[in-house]
Symmetry: C3
Subunit: 339 residues, 3 copies
């Protein structure tokens, strides 16, 4: 069992099943606070250092908002790349200095393992918000949390489920981390759908196989989705292909829209995507004509990210048992649960 | 009468006279809080998403500060244009995701009607902070509020007043919206002073005429200000002219300084400008030698912007009747009302 | 004695010894709040305008965090250079408008004396966070505070000490301001070690001499440190030299590492550096092999910056006597005092 209080959250590999379920249990308790049905000030006075060495509005705002929803304040450090911090200063020095300015740090950096290196010099817990092609553990946790919630709503379970992962499985950091988390469960069937050039790396496939899961590998979307409980789509960037001919060969072959969904999926297949999706004509991996479909979970997925980040802040700062004690009324107009 | 609670504020066209007067009444009640004579924590715990897709420090800080002055927190999202949000993601998706991160959103975007499009996907009220050349409703409201306050201080009224609008009336978004708001009043005389190439658009002139107001159109500043109660100056950017010869022809013809003011205006003509004004020699549409003139309302105008934005937050979040209930002492050195 | 409440902090020259000691006394009282052993909400509801016209993450975050630690909120205005504020608007106008949006302003600007110019139009106290090559008073104060604390821990005093300043003494703003502050004390011995091309300016040397202090000037590091109580290193940027030959001549001559320290310094010589230090091979003015040395004060120096800035906010806003009155419990996991 992971000890959360005072710990860094750097990788999904540091979490066992018990730890993951602890995170999900606290995340679930965060729901009424995130929906503004209730309010807690448990982190009133605490400061988050939101250290983004590369821009990522969505992730940055999600961390900030999660901290705000627990009553804390956020110290933003966007645009660090252009400041003197990048001019030869070591991550160790940066960490020694900046970690005295906050109670917890969320950090994104373009270089693999940079967040771990930073954490060595930090006096406060550091949560990895994505370090290059290496890890993005909060994304992996929110994906798994979404799968669990969506399946549970229909009486299904992660163990025994069928998941189809579609798109760029080579460079898509999220599908790697999610696959590793799924290795903690039993009897999952993976259907990996990608162009051959963008196939899931062998190391991940080995992990899946070693966990005893079934794997189907294909480059055809249609005809391979009929048993999927979860359909996890990712974006394919054309520049990832070795040539434009290769790109053209696959163009439009990994798109999902209402017609394909109805024809090829079960009626209870849950549609996920890490977002952002590209809504431009040439990309469009997930069509807007599914926007009102009840099985489209992509916005609930983003909402779950808020809950997961709230849970990680509460756990690393050791306040998860005090949420109710610091409740205050919500005296203003509350957001709609959904549009 | 507009229902404010839970509503978007996208355009001045959605406001009738009763709604405008409601905003002004709440804005007036905000004065002691803005001056730090009193403090309210009515929005303690609430989060503003300050979404600026193009830089505008003044407007952005004004929204943020208005929210802070009501006790709320601000989630800044500067520099969105450079993030993944701009890479093909639809405004609808952005809105669905980001609107779960805050209780109300202030948004500026370079594209006309983008804020309305965003609002369709938002779960929380959205306040338009300027959408390209289309609208900037909080600026229009603060201009009108300033006119009413400045005239009232001298026993005058909007109905029956004479307003001279000077400068770039073609591209100046603020004079268009202000003119439309003035159509709700009776018997206003407009003097429109601009180079012919930068004249007020016909659509606005028609609205003014249809409201029964008088209009004088001229390209001469001097000799046309002698009856103005309000002198509303705007900046002329030389690049707006079709040729440098045209620009040269008008250069310096729309400047106001102490000597011109004394010679051509009534002693109680109020000077307004949406700011920023260009203080460089070649531009200088409003000279610094008027800085200490009691009729120079430009800084009071900016201060009124804070009051208007506080009022709109209080109204859309439904807390305008609770300001006093959440009062707390101001225990630190308070700002001066003016320098 | 300087009157702090409501005053601007623009230059070290405005402070006499009594004022400096007042700042240090309040800074010392800030220690338990900065370490999260205690928490105060004395500035709850107050707003800091953090106006940075050029990027400086470290200083900006330090100001923001200092304000947060006193319970206040921060309105960030990064990236002002790219906004309309820079398009011809005078600092006076900017100040008139923005100073109504906050209770106190911390400001950095690339132009000398710009902060003083801004302060003339401000309705709230302005603290200079660095104005070009002119002044950076909070850095000078934190340097002096560090010297006093480090020496006092070993029973030494500023009066009577020996300080060696090493590196770029010509362009290094921090050593100029620190030297001026040291002129308020008695009997300090200065050893100024720099390439001839980067020597301390005559005006500063004259001030030091007029204060009755001893001065040794040299371009050799080794052999000149044996009596130093304080060793203050600064970074030399090679582009400061008139030619690459000059740079090569001095390359590596002003580096400190464990071997040089052990060989040439007293066992109680305190090592300081304003940070950031360049950890790249070709620069490396202060080697990482001293990172665990107890006399390396560089991170304590940065921590002291937080205390000094907290003290200045408390003093200018007149709440330094109310810290204890507004104490609240720290109910979350507290940072480590050091790693």
């Amino acid at each position: 069992m992971t000890q959360f209080q005072g710990s860094h959250i750097l990788s999904v590999n540091q979490l066992d099943l018990e730890a993951v379920e602890k995170v999900f249990s606290v995340a679930t308790r965060m729901t009424p606070y995130a929906l503004r049905q209730k309010r807690t000030t448990v982190l009133d006075g605490a400061v988050l250092g939101n250290l983004f060495f590369e821009p990522s509005t969505r992730t940055r705002v999600s961390f900030a908002s999660a901290f705000n929803l627990l009553g804390g304040r956020v110290n933003e450090t966007v645009g660090m790349a252009s400041s003197s911090l990048s001019k030869g200063e070591s991550l160790y020095d940066t960490a020694r200095v900046l970690s005295s300015y906050s109670d917890v740090i969320a950090m994104r950096h373009p270089d693999s393992f940079s967040v771990s290196e930073f954490a060595k010099g930090s006096r406060v817990p550091v949560i990895n918000g994505g370090d290059g092609s290496n890890e993005h553990p909060t994304q992996a946790l929110l994906d798994l949390f979404t799968i669990q919630k969506e399946l549970a709503a229909g009486g299904r379970d992660i163990s025994g489920m069928n998941i189809a992962m579609v798109g760029d499985l080579k460079f898509g950091r999220t599908v790697h981390s999610l696959s590793r988390l799924l290795c903690m469960y039993k009897d999952v069937s993976f259907t990996l759908v990608s162009p051959k050039e963008l196939a899931m790396p062998d190391s991940v496939i080995n992990d899946i196989a070693n966990a005893g899961h079934k794997i189907t590998i294909t480059d055809q979307l249609e005809g391979n989705l009929d048993r999927a409980d979860i359909l996890y789509l990712t974006r394919i960037q054309e520049e990832r292909f070795p040539s434009q001919e290769e790109a053209n060969k696959y163009r439009g072959k990994f798109r999902l829209n209402q017609s394909i969904y109805t024809q090829h999926c079960k009626s209870n297949t849950v549609i996920m995507h890490p977002l952002p999706r590209d809504s431009r004509e040439q990309a469009n991996e997930l069509d807007n004509d599914l926007n009102d479909h009840p099985n489209l979970a992509i916005f609930r997925q983003a909402d779950n990210g808020l809950l997961i980040r709230m849970a990680l802040f509460a756990l690393t700062l050791g306040v998860d048992s005090q949420l109710e004690q610091y409740e205050r009324p919500v005296n203003w107009y509350s957001r709609k649960a959904d549009v």
